[in-house]
Subunit: 232 residues, 2 copies
DNA sequence: GAACACATAATTGTATACAATACAAGTATC
DNA sequence: GATACTTGTATTGTATACAATTATGTGTTC
């Protein structure tokens, strides 16, 4: 795949589309924590000027997916262990509530979408694409927050899920992610049944489960070249 | 006060300092919801190019203090009534928890700072500067979140407090803000006593109180000229 | 060979120029 | 007189040029 393919892919890349593409790449662990994001390099990759790259990078820094240090540039954030715990504590505070509300508000359409997420996630795992599975699993949580019709809290959860992806890249312990599938399935079932307090409790235990699957050890963190990582 | 005074005030204005100045002006209701923020105008006021103004505006838009619409520019956000309720619901979910933790972690230094906030707020009210009093009251809440040593959640609360200021500008019903002073005093006392569950409960009822002081009616919303509003 | 100073390159920060878009006012046409 | 069209102005979007800062490499000295 050539450079032209990248820059012409979507006719004119906006800062939003670039931020989204980078975010996706980070979510899917194609770009790992610590990777330097050089403006010129990205500008050439996406076929725009540094101006729009800078806007995209600033967006991502506001949700703490990347870190910008003055005169030093941007790199993919690597949350400390304290931050990692904080993120999951915040999720344990917010998400059980959204699961409760979602159970009361979900339409059959919502349920279908949630089930589709689970299927897609399963397919990604089957296709040996754990990065994509992780991304889809995040979408699942975001979707529940949106079903709960609390866009403010949903926004917070979105950033927490995004940072969770970084945290998982750094501190994940378990090998198999299959544990999640059951949890998500059970959650959807209780939401479909309109059983709010059960959904709340399932979400809480699911998050505690994820939280406890983190470990102190730092991951190796080999870093791909930017161009390869973004050439999807 | 001349234009030069403004642009030379802090030698070289950075996008951060400008974002902070604008944020303060919005907090203190010197700039009201709906006000258009024109880049050229701000660039001249602060003596920098549009480039740095744009960065500042984007920061503020990420915490939803202002709204940027493509090719339409920025204006101070005016949250809908639904958003207003959401913000306070989110605060009712997060802040009682931080109050609880703060009660367990606060040092005597922290307590002193909280008491100083209350005094400053009282002084601002006495000086017939309700905007500043509101800002200081927000700082009080942010401070508690920081004392709780949960920087992730503290960040969320900061944005919620900021948006609360917009909401109060639009939907405030009561005349006197004195009700708050007692609530804040009692909160500090229970935090100083290390009584977590009492602090938690006081915070919850304080927020419910604030929430219930909102009303449907829209406020008049006369808008100052930008230059006057920012010439402090 | 290690530590330092200095020159050079790479990268980010800011200002400015120009292009694209939106808004308003006026003009023509029916 | 109402509507559609055109033109002009204000404002934002993007690219580029240059300044400021940081990183890198090379020699020199001990």
């Amino acid at each position: 795949m050539t450079k032209t393919d990248l820059s012409d892919r979507s006719k004119a890349a906006t800062s939003d589309s670039i931020a989204h593409a980078l975010s996706l790449a980070i979510h899917e662990h194609r770009i790992l924590p610590g990777t330097k994001l050089v403006e010129d390099e990205l500008a050439e990759i996406y076929g725009v000027s540094r101006t729009v790259i800078r806007a995209a990078l600033h967006s991502l820094s506001h949700i703490q997916l990347i870190e910008i240090r003055r005169n030093k540039g941007a790199s993919v954030a690597s949350p400390s262990l304290k931050e990692a715990h904080e993120v999951f504590e915040a999720r344990e505070l917010l998400e059980p509530r959204t699961a409760f509300s979602a159970a009361q508000l979900a339409t059959s359409e919502d349920i279908a979408r949630l089930e589709r997420h689970i299927e897609d996630e399963h397919a990604a795992l089957a296709a040996a694409d754990p990065g994509r599975a992780l991304y889809l699993s995040g979408l699942f949580h975001n979707d529940i927050a949106h079903i709960a019709n609390q866009s403010t809290i949903a926004g917070f959860i979105e950033t927490l899920v995004a940072r969770s992806s970084l945290i998982i890249a750094l501190y994940w312990r378990r090998e198999s992610a299959l544990c999640e599938k059951h949890a998500h399935h059970a959650l959807v079932k209780s939401i479909a049944d309109g059983n709010g307090s059960q959904a709340e409790e399932l979400m809480r235990s699911h998050l505690v489960d994820l939280h406890s699957a983190l470990d102190l050890k730092e991951r190796s963190g080999r870093v791909l070249s930017l161009k390869d990582a973004l050439a999807q």
